[in-house]
Every structure is written in structure tokens, then in C-alpha cells.
Subunit: 183 residues, 4 copies
DNA sequence: GATGAATGAGGGTTCATTCAT
DNA sequence: CATGAATGAACCCTCATTCAT
């Protein structure tokens, strides 16, 4: 992970990873048949870590709008906290789209819950998901790159809620509730 | 362009480009000092082509909401029409973020015009831009990859308008107006 | 044997052999100090199996011409029956010439017996052996590769007998006698 | 060639070839896309050299028996003269059987001519070719390895002629005629 | 006696880049 | 201005072999 965050997925070489791990490349190949397999398994590990964190974040909140907002803000918080890690994650999304698809299950569930709860009002589920994911991913990158002003995370989350049909005032309120602690 | 579209930016080699151009790699180096420079200049050329197309698309429309919708729909149309070209463009956005920044000037101008015209109502310009760009980029990828259903482009554009404060009914109407021809 | 037959001597690796044997490579090295030693011992085992089979084939036949013919035909039969095994054997002959030399003792004994019995008439024993061995090896390869027509084995054996001075008619008759069963 | 003769086809590495050629391996890859291609082209070059030499050897001799004998003796002469080159050739025959097939055209033509001239009397052409090729190849190896006594070449050629039905006395005479000079 | 874990030494291959002509 | 020819520096990957447990 350390090597891939520092050098990027494409640029990282097996020898760099090996050196960071304190072994030879040959040893690496005892565990990963191929560079691609290593990358793949890294992506899976990343996704699982994330999914667990998200699930924990959401555990007991019933309000779909709040769940949605927390999910996004958690990512933005992550982007501010660990920019390198975040950029790696974004690279993974490009290289292994199934990882993204897997993670998208969470906001999708929240979206549907919100619709059932009459909190959201969206004529097209797919378009809504694209807006949620697209905005979130793009904003994460901006934050990770240090291009975002303070308060941007909340503003972004609120805008997404409004796009989902949450009245402006309510959206602003929801995104200001405190983030639950990370377990 | 042909080579980069077919093989991707990272995988394209100088010899492939040279062969496609019917010259030797050495000749390439008479025009581009470096592979990176070649990629950079390709990105610039791409951006200029795009910017011109967008400007033309917009030329005489005064309604900011319509301009915004047309811009996005034009991209979605492009993604459906030339998936390979689109994926190249998206790669360029990742590799050369300034290209994206340059293009973002257009929707930014439309956003500001819409605010002046009281068509849009956004508390945070930066967040709005992230939503616009993020949604558009993500949706383009989905369309280019063939993952989008018919009508997705319009639904997506309408959702963005709603996020910008356009009333739902009006948003749906605006995105149904015919795309002006590409002259 | 199974690995070497399937992959060829040069291409077979210690890990492949180990896997086929259901042990680790380290265990292999408790029995064979070296890859070369393993190959060598495999060759020896092959040779012994063969020599025993040949000896059995010949046990009680007094007629040297018939013994000679049976030896060759037995090989051709083997080549048709177990092409992979045969090609391995031929590889062994190239890699470990002493194996071939060991096996050549049998036809050499038959050759000498035939001369004593006045069945064969050869001015040069070494040249005769080269013709016998060379023809047999080459024909085995052709048969194992599926390049030979039916009846080729007998025609080939008859030709060798004629080269050894057996009158044509008699040669044709000898090679048509039934092969003794492999017990 | 030099590298392949010294180290054998399987053991020769691209770096060894490159070093012997006084270039880097990268340069090698400008001429041969692959190690296999290099080996293949080497084999072809070998075969062509040989075929030309054989054709020259035969140019104007009408007697099929003599042509046959000369062909074989030429190979035996080569084996004595250039053992390393010969062993390379034999390796090539194993690795690229089509090379052998190509060369076999010459003795095959001679065989057929001999049959037409009533010099040879063979009931089975394929068996005859196997005897010719098999004996010749095997004997070449023995000679190249230094395992053959003087006079072995002629004895071997005579034996093949007898196998083809040439009367013993005549066979012995034919193989004693002087080899025509190599142009 | 078997193994898990590691490795040294190399092998084939790629590619951006250079430079004299 | 184009090129032919060459290359340095890596890279991914393989495999026979070792050794403490």
C-alpha cells in the first residue's frame, strides 16, 4: 500500500514493493502470481476496509438523508485526512471499476431507503446514482489535491441532498450534524 | 490520436505512434522533445477542439439553464457517439488536470450567468461546479462504457439542473429541447 | 515421469514435479541432490524398464533374425501405443547417450548371434549397429509423431534385415510372424 | 551461430548472442522479434546453406547410387570436419523438424531416380527414407562425437546402398569413388 | 523425513531516447 | 527534415536451490 500510494499504481514496480516489504521480488511471486494479481488483491483489500468502515458509520442511523450525508462526508473527511490513500483509491476506481460498483451498493441502499421514506424524490435512480458517485468522487479528488476550501465538504453534501429533492433548509441542517465517531 | 484512443495513454508507445504516422520514432523527436510533451500537446489539441465545439454550441442561446443543459448533453452525445475518443478524453482529465480546468470555464460562465438571471440558486459556487463536473464526467464514462440506458443523458442533465435550484418541471422541459446542430 | 512426458525434459520444472508428486520441492531435494540427478535417475529407471521388457520379449527365441525383428517392432509398437512416453525416451537418448548405449547391448548381441548363425552378413559391425539404431530411433519418432502409415513398422524392420544381408523374401516373412505377448 | 554451436540451442541466451555480435540485446530485438524467431531464422539459414552445398555436390552426376552415396558421405565428412556445427544441425533437426523435411527432398529425389534407373529395389519408399535419414543422422552424431573409427563413413554409406538393394560388391565400389570437390 | 519460506541469479523483452548521416 | 541503427535502463517473471524448523 505504502508503495502504491507514493508512486501510483501504474508507476509502482515489483522491486519497489519488494524492497518496501523487505524481501526479494521472487518472494513476492510466491504470494502473488502476477503484478496484476497483486494490484487486484490490493484493490479488494482496500474495498473491504472501506466497506467495513462505511457499514460501521451507518450502523444505527434510521434517517436515509442523514446516512447519505454521513457517507459522503466520511469520504471527504478521508480525503482531507489521507490524501495519498485517497488518490490511490481513486486510481483503483479507474483501474478496477468493480471495486467502485461494490462500494456503490451502500449509497444505493440509502437512496432507496430515502425514497421509501419520502425523504428523496428522484425520477431516475440511475441518474441519481451517477450524480451521487460522480460528485463524490470528483470532490474527493479536489479535496485530496488540496484544491478545496474549508466547508466545501458540507456544501457538497448539501448540494447532493438538494439534487435528491431534500428541501434546501433541511439539507443544510442535516449536513451540519456531527459525524459519528469511527467505531 | 488514433493510437492513443486505441491503446490508452499509458500503453501507447512512441514506436506505435510513429508507425501510425508513417515515420520513424526519430522523426517524432524532431517535433516533440519528449513523450510527455507529445501527450501534453495532444491534450491541448483535444481541449481546443472541444472548447471550440462547445462555444459553437452555445453561440447565441441566452438562457443559462438551457446552455448548461446543452453543454452536458453534448458531452453525453459525444460519449455515445465516440466512446473511445471519450475514454481518451477522460484519461486526459486524469493525467492533465489543467485541461479539465480550462474546459470548466464554460460551465462556470453558464453557472454564473444563471445565478445572475435568477435561474439558478446555489449557496456555494465551488460545490456546484464539483457537482456539475463530477456528475458529467462520471456519466460520460458510464455512457462510453455502454453502461447507461437510453434517456439517461437527459435524466442526468435534468438532475443537475434541479441540483442548481431549477424547479423540477422546468428542468425536465429544458433538457427536452432539441440539441442545436453541430453546424 | 508423468511431468517429464507431458512437458518435456527441458521444460519440466522442479515445482511441477513436486506438485505432481504431492510434495514440496524441498522434499524432492531430500531424494535427489540436483535436478540433473533426478533426470539422470529417471533415465536409468526408463532404461531398466525397457531392458527388462526387451529381455522378456526375447527370452526363448533362438532365431537371431527374428529376435532382431521383434526388438524393433516392439519399439515401433511402443511408439504407436505411448507416443508421449516414446518422445520422452528419445529425449533421454539425446540428453543421456549412455542410456542408449546400454540398450544397444541387446541388438548388438542379436547382431552377433545372427552373424554366428550365418543369418546376417555384414562387413562392418559398427556400421550395422548405426543403421539398426539410427533407423529404429528415427522411425520411432516418426511413428510417435503420427507421421507413419500403417504397416510402416514391418516395412522398416524388413528393410533393416535386408541391410543385414537377409534375403528379401525371408525378411518379409520374418517380420510378419506374430509378436510374442508382453507376458 | 558461434554462440549456438558452443552453448547449444537451449542454453544459448540472448545476451550471449548479443555479446558475441558486439551489440546489446535491445539491438538484437530490432532484428529478431523474439528469441524463437532468431532460432528459427538461424535454422533456415543453416538449411539453405546445406541445401546449396548438396545441390552443388550433385550437380552433374547421373548415377543415382553414386549421388546417394556422395550425399551421405558429404554429411559424414562435415561431421568429422565441423563437429560443433554438426551437433547444432542435429539439434535443429530436433527443434525444427521442417528443416529436416526440407533437406530430405534431396535424398528422396535420388532414391526415386535410383528406382527408375533400376539401381535400387525397395518395396516401401517411406521405410527406405527412414533408413536413409535415420542411419545418416545417427552416424553423423557418432562421428561428430568422435565415436567412430576411420572408414566408418564409407562402411555406413555402403550399408545403406545394400539396404536399398544394390549388390554388395557394387556398393563397396561406389562408396570408394572420390568425393567431388566442394566447387 | 517433510516443509514453509525465502532467495540469487538470471532470462526474455520493452521502450524512450540519441545521434551520425 | 527524415532516418537507420543502436542503446541504457528497467521491468516482469522464473526456477533451482537452501535452510531453519
Amino acid at each position: 500500500m505504502q508503495v502504491f500510494t507514493q508512486r501510483g499504481i501504474a508507476a509502482a514496480t515489483m522491486q519497489e514493493v519488494a524492497q518496501a516489504a523487505g524481501v526479494t521480488t521472487a518472494t513476492l511471486y510466491n504470494y502473488f502470481g502476477t503484478r496484476d494479481e497483486l494490484v487486484q488483491r490490493l484493490a479488494v483489500a482496500l474495498a473491504q476496509t472501506l466497506c467495513k468502515a462505511i457499514a460501521d458509520s451507518h450502523a444505527q442511523l434510521p434517517d436515509a438523508a442523514e446516512r447519505m450525508a454521513i457517507g459522503q462526508r466520511r469520504y471527504y473527511w478521508l480525503a482531507a485526512e489521507s490524501p495519498a490513500w485517497t488518490l490511490l483509491l481513486l486510481e483503483v476506481f479507474s483501474a478496477a471499476p468493480d471495486v467502485l460498483a461494490q462500494i456503490e451498493q451502500y449509497p444505493l441502499a440509502d437512496l432507496r431507503a430515502g425514497i421509501r421514506q419520502k425523504k428523496f424524490k428522484v425520477p431516475d435512480e440511475a441518474a441519481a446514482m451517477d450524480a451521487i458517485t460522480g460528485t463524490c468522487v470528483h470532490t474527493m479528488r479536489r479535496i485530496a489535491l488540496g484544491h478545496a476550501a474549508p466547508g466545501h465538504a458540507e456544501a457538497s453534501a448539501a448540494l447532493v441532498l438538494r439534487a435528491l429533492g431534500v428541501p434546501p433548509g433541511q439539507a443544510d441542517e442535516v449536513v451540519r450534524r456531527p459525524l459519528p465517531p469511527l467505531e
